[in-house]
């Protein structure tokens, strides 16, 4: 475990530095083009980089949760989800239960954010909550808790804030060049420097390329962690089949997450912008192909890291694995467990009903059950003392 955590901390630093270099490059070029003063641009870019890194560290989690329009829930809002998060917290040995957030979106997906294991959160869409049974939900939550335990979350928070900044800056720089920059370039060409035109062309090309470069850095470090989180989830739950079947259900869905964007995509359990049949070697894919993740999980003979490593190597046909050597050294045999009894599960209809109740409650609607069995939803603005049931005509007091 330790090696993974340490390597993630190193990667955080490398990432922040790499993104910083790209940001400085943009600042330098913007300085040359617009202000005839490269140093000024550099200084501004440096300040922006510093400020955004700090913002990413201290506010990254709330920004990401806010962008996803996630809402915090407590135990009584959805006991099953809350209990499962608590179960996985115990299995992973985390010290504190992460905050739990719900995103009202039919596309099934989930992610984890946070600065450190003591200040972390998991978020899950209503679509996923409806689709999964207890074992599957456990697998998904185990995967997210593993991201928290392996310190992947801070890396995600900082990098998505920095990536977002670079994308926005480059966007404005290109727009400015087309409108503001034209006048200046005419002036400079009249003074007759063909060298300056070349610099200008290179600068424009670099500004357009910068966001892509930043994204490549980002993608390169996000894929291996998904395998690692899958392996940890299998170890925590001792039931890899749960996560495997959850991943299949998520992959089978065709709806796209509305609140996701390019900067936040890698933090989800499943790439929200995936297309059908993407090749595994695709440079820009943040997630390993689902079919491969499912195949590895399904062929595991036990639940330990060593089992995962063995199957991973077989599927890939290489000797190179995904689990750090120090984690493997501490690995010990872990046997699989049986599935949860179906009889204790709320069925699909019941799950959908529970979640719709939850969403109404989060919107401050009151739910009154009439004696005839009809559920009345009273909006927060409703001020009358009683409401008439449209079904049977009884008058129900609004408590």
């Amino acid at each position: 475990m330790w090696e993974q955590i340490r390597s993630n901390q190193t990667r955080s630093v490398v990432l922040v530095a790499g993104m910083g270099v790209i940001l400085l490059l943009i600042g330098y070029l913007v300085g040359i083009i617009f202000f005839d003063n490269a140093i000024g641009g550099l200084v501004i870019a440096f300040i922006v980089w510093g400020v955004m890194s700090l913002v990413g560290y201290y506010q990254g989690d709330s920004i990401l949760l806010g962008m996803a329009r996630a809402r915090k829930i407590s135990h009584d809002d959805h006991p099953r989800l809350y209990n499962i998060v608590e179960e996985m917290k115990i299995a992973s040995g985390l010290e504190k239960v992460p905050d739990i957030y719900i995103i009202d979106d039919p596309a099934p997906n989930a992610f984890a954010v946070g600065r450190n294991p003591d200040k972390a959160a998991v978020a899950i869409t209503t679509g996923l909550l409806q689709k999964l049974n207890r074992d599957e939900l456990q697998g998904v939550i185990g995967h997210e808790i593993a991201h928290i335990k392996n310190r992947d979350v801070l890396l995600m928070a900082i990098s998505s804030v920095l990536l977002g900044t670079i994308v926005i800056l480059a966007w404005y720089a290109t727009r400015l060049m087309f409108f503001g920059g034209m006048a200046r370039s005419r002036r400079s060409s009249s003074s007759g420097g063909s060298g300056q035109i070349i610099i200008l062309v290179v600068a424009i090309a670099l500004i357009i390329l910068a966001p892509i470069m930043a994204q490549l850095i980002y993608f390169a470090i996000s894929r291996k962690r998904e395998y690692m989180a899958d392996a940890s989830s299998a170890l925590y739950t001792r039931y890899p089949e749960g996560l495997a079947s959850a991943l299949e259900k998520i992959a089978a869905s065709t709806s796209q997450l509305k609140s996701a964007n390019q900067a936040t995509a890698p933090m989800y359990i499943m790439n929200p912008f995936r297309k059908e049949k993407r090749p595994a070697s695709n440079l820009t894919s943040t997630h390993p192909p689902i079919s491969e993740r499912v195949r590895i999980l399904r062929s595991m003979g036990g639940a330990s890291f060593a089992d995962y490593e063995q199957v991973y190597q077989k599927v890939h046909g290489t000797g190179a694995g995904v689990i750090p050597a120090s984690a493997l050294a501490l690995s010990h045999p872990a046997s699989l467990r049986a599935a949860e009894a179906e009889s204790k599960e709320p069925d699909k209809t019941e799950r959908v009903r529970q979640i719709s109740d939850l969403m109404w409650r989060l919107g401050n609607y009151k739910t009154i059950t009439c004696d005839c069995g009809t559920k009345l939803r009273v909006p927060p603005k409703f001020k009358e003392p009683a409401v008439r049931c449209p079904h049977c005509g009884r008058s129900n007091p609004v408590a």
Partner: protein
């Protein structure tokens, strides 16, 4: 003169190694203790849930007196064994788990009870508490395994022997099929 310094150097190096290993062992032992406390919390939670469950179920299950009494009895026995060691306690908790599983299995025969909101909420809490018990047990046993490995392996076994570290006891629940609720068929 040089020989003295060499000896002093070796002693210092050995001392540093000793301290590092000792501190690491203490860390592992604390993890084991911590994990044990986790199990304790969940077992206590189960003792607290059972009277509530009995209260809810009583009105519906008129013909299951034996099953219900078995649960209450197993709960009281388990609570008495709470101060015992991991081995004995595991046995008592295993009894309680299987008694509870039997009770929850006969619930299938009472559709009215299965529709009761109160019961459903309790069932969720019980299911989850059972899971939490087995997950905290899993984490505890993993920690004990790591700790025991350290105590038995060279060179930390020397430090452990000198400072009196004792191997941890695994927490095994005897009823292995406790997680699988037996299916009741009506054919």
């Amino acid at each position: 003169m040089a020989a003295v310094w060499v000896i002093v150097g070796i002693v210092v190096v050995l001392l540093v190694i000793f301290i590092v290993i000792y501190n690491r062992l203490v860390g592992w032992r604390n993890q084991v203790k911590n994990a044990w406390a986790q199990i304790d919390v969940q077992l206590k939670r189960r003792y607290d849930l059972i009277p509530n469950l009995m209260e809810t179920v009583k009105g519906y299950m008129k013909h299951e007196r034996e099953t219900m009494e078995a649960v209450t009895k197993a709960r009281n026995l388990a609570q008495q064994a709470a101060s015992a060691g991991a081995g004995e306690r595991g046995k008592a908790e295993g009894e309680l788990s299987s008694a509870l599983a039997r009770l929850l299995a006969v619930v299938e025969n009472y559709p009215d009870l299965k529709a009761n909101q109160n019961f459903l909420a309790l069932q969720e809490e019980l299911t989850s508490t059972e899971n939490k018990i087995s997950f905290s047990r899993q984490y505890y046993n993993d920690s004990v395994l790591k700790f025991n490995n350290q105590i038995q392996m060279f060179p930390s076994n020397m430090v452990a022997g000198m400072t009196g570290f004792k191997a941890g006891e695994f927490f095994e629940v005897t009823a292995e099929e406790e997680r699988k609720v037996p299916k009741v068929s009506f054919t």
